[in-house]
Amino acid sequence: MTGRKDKPHLDRNHAVFLLKEMMRIRRFEERCAELYGATKIRGFLHLYIGEEANAVGVMQALTPADAVVATYREHGHALARGISVRALMAEMYGKVEGTSRGRGGSMHVFDAATRFYGGNAIVAGGMPLAVGVALADKMRGAESVTACFFGDGAAAEGAFHESLNLAALWNLPVLFICENNRYAMGTAIERAQAQTDLVKHAEGYAIPGETVDGMDVVAVEVAARRAVATVRQAGRPYFLENQTYRFRAHSMYDPELYRSKAEVEEWKKKDPITHLANRLESAGFLHRDDLPRLAAEIEAEVEDGVAYAEAGRWEPVEDLGKDVVAPRGAGRAGVAA
């Protein structure tokens, strides 16, 4: 991991950008939790708090031509990929101005402009789809990489194994990123996986991989840049296992009976935001006023998003059947179902 081009651009501006990206995701989700309590946001809400370094680090390695397939814990991926706070918050509210016209909510963020192919609420359900996006790009001669995010729980699903095999067998440009937060909902990885070293699964399918400190955004960016370069150059998949931790419950309904408070507190000491902020302060990259200034800018952006969502429109009930299938010519109007 030593090539000079692999080095992250750790100039001050980039470092502060990484910090702000993580802080933005954090604040966005804290606000979502409040709005959930206020019943503005309903349904399932899975927070990424604690895991921000992964989405932020990986996205630095992607170009606009690359594709992203994410999971139901994808607010961080969406924001880091460039989807606006406004559109994402409106989606959380279920308003027409949302990324998916409010149809999907928290778990189904889609955005064609940034090649963001969801938000998928079936564990490992996005993985075959990512393989297909990469297949299409390859067949069309594009040099795009598909970044496929999933959790440790996915590694127990058949679709995980089928997808790794197919991507390797067909030499497809997929970067698999396992965000191993150690729990499949409430089931600890040791209670679900006979092989807890998840990189070994990749090796079993002849896919090179490595374990990354998923609490360190710089480490994630370095690994992701190297991995994406490898995928693009070799036209083959690569596997990153990012070891991370979610600080909040699985969803808003989770009483967290399966893990100790001490364990959570231990991991919070590795908070990716505090970690980077401290590092930047020691390096003299972060000035005294920077953190409050960043926080204020983020607060303004998030509140603007909330106001935008509040002011948004509900989709008219008459549109309920819109986009179940593509609009038909007159000849098909009479046979809707």
């Binding site: 789809l129 297909g132 299938v325």
Partner: protein, 327 residues
């Protein structure tokens, strides 16, 4: 007109589609070197090469999902699932991804994917290889489901399905592949919206799809001998259903029997019967009849398999019951 088979018509359609559009490719188990489990893709690997005729591992979830992803990203994949029985391993991808993404993404993404699969019983391959689960797919909003019963439709439905911006599932009944018949030399795309009246009659409407259209036609011939004129409707499209054609016929004949190789409980026959009741109740002279598969796993011995499935004789009995009760 030229003599051909259903299988050859499917192959012609595949070849035509692959020649017409570079975005089209075929993938599935043994579609390449083996030539397709039912020989539908024989010779295509040689003509189009391994990039476009892709043999897959036995990974229904992955290759159906990959077809969905490739369709999302601009290709026009044709995915062959060897049989409906194995499609159960891909149900998550079809139901949770293919059928939902257009609506769930607010119309941003479509899935122009065609999935072909063989279906049905009749070859003594026992319970795990004899399913007729078309109704499971026809239950799902967001996908279209078609069942070509004729050589012309086997030749023509694929292109129309590929032109459709949404996922289309094509069910090819395994008993039809060997069917011989004539096909116009200029045969091409056909609509996939409308049911077809395959035989005109005035006394009763027989409604069927796939291979059972031919059982209904055989029953109609039997009924002709006793001067009962049976009209036979080939549904062709299972989702959406063409209510208009069904109702026009039933309003004329005032009696209907639905023939369906699925089990009666929760079947398309149930759905069609309900639609007739809802929309033509007062035009009926008798309750809608149904001839479905007996509610047992399909057994291996020939006599038991035949006893389990709809047969022309059972259809005749069902029609006679309607006429006897109310004629």
């Amino acid at each position: 007109m030229s003599a051909t088979t259903y299988r050859e018509a499917v192959r012609m359609a595949l070849r035509d589609a692959l020649r017409r559009d570079q975005r089209v490719f075929l993938m599935g188990e043994d579609v390449g070197r083996y030539g397709g489990s039912y020989a539908c893709s024989k010779g295509l690997l040689e003509e189009f090469g391994p990039e476009r005729i892709r043999d897959t591992p036995l990974s229904e979830s992955a290759f159906v999902g990959a077809g969905i992803g490739a369709a999302l990203a601009g290709m026009r994949p044709i995915v062959e699932i060897m049989t409906v029985n194995f499609s159960l391993l891909a149900l998550d991808q079809i139901v949770n991804n293919a059928a939902t993404i257009r609506h769930m993404s607010g119309g941003q993404f479509g899935v122009p994917l065609v999935i072909r699969m063989a279906t049905g019983a009749g070859r003594q391959v026992a319970a795990q290889h004899s399913h007729s689960l078309e109704c499971w797919y026809a239950h799902i909003p967001g996908i279209r489901v078609v069942a070509p019963a004729t050589i012309e439709d086997a030749r023509g439905m694929l292109q129309t399905a590929l032109d459709d911006p949404d996922p289309v599932v094509i069910f090819e009944h395994a008993m039809l592949y060997g069917m011989e018949g004539e096909l116009a030399d200029d045969a091409g795309a056909v609509d996939i919206d409308r049911a077809a009246v395959r035989r005109v009659g005035r006394d009763v409407t027989l409604i069927a799809f796939g291979a059972n259209v031919h059982k209904a036609l055989a029953a109609a011939q039997e009924l002709e001998r006793v001067r009962v004129g049976a009209e036979v409707i080939d549904l062709r499209s299972l989702r959406p259903l063409d209510d208009a054609t069904i109702l026009a016929s039933v309003r004329k004949t005032r009696r209907a029997v639905v023939v369906d190789e699925a089990w009666r409980s929760g079947s398309l026959a149930a759905e069609i019967s309900a639609r007739i009741m809802e929309q033509a109740f007062y035009d009926l002279d008798a309750p809608v009849g149904r001839v479905c598969t007996e509610e047992v796993p399909i057994p291996y011995p020939k006599h038991l398999e035949e006893a389990a499935l709809p047969q022309p004789a059972k259809i005749v009995v069902a029609v006679e019951a309607l006429l006897g009760a109310h004629g």
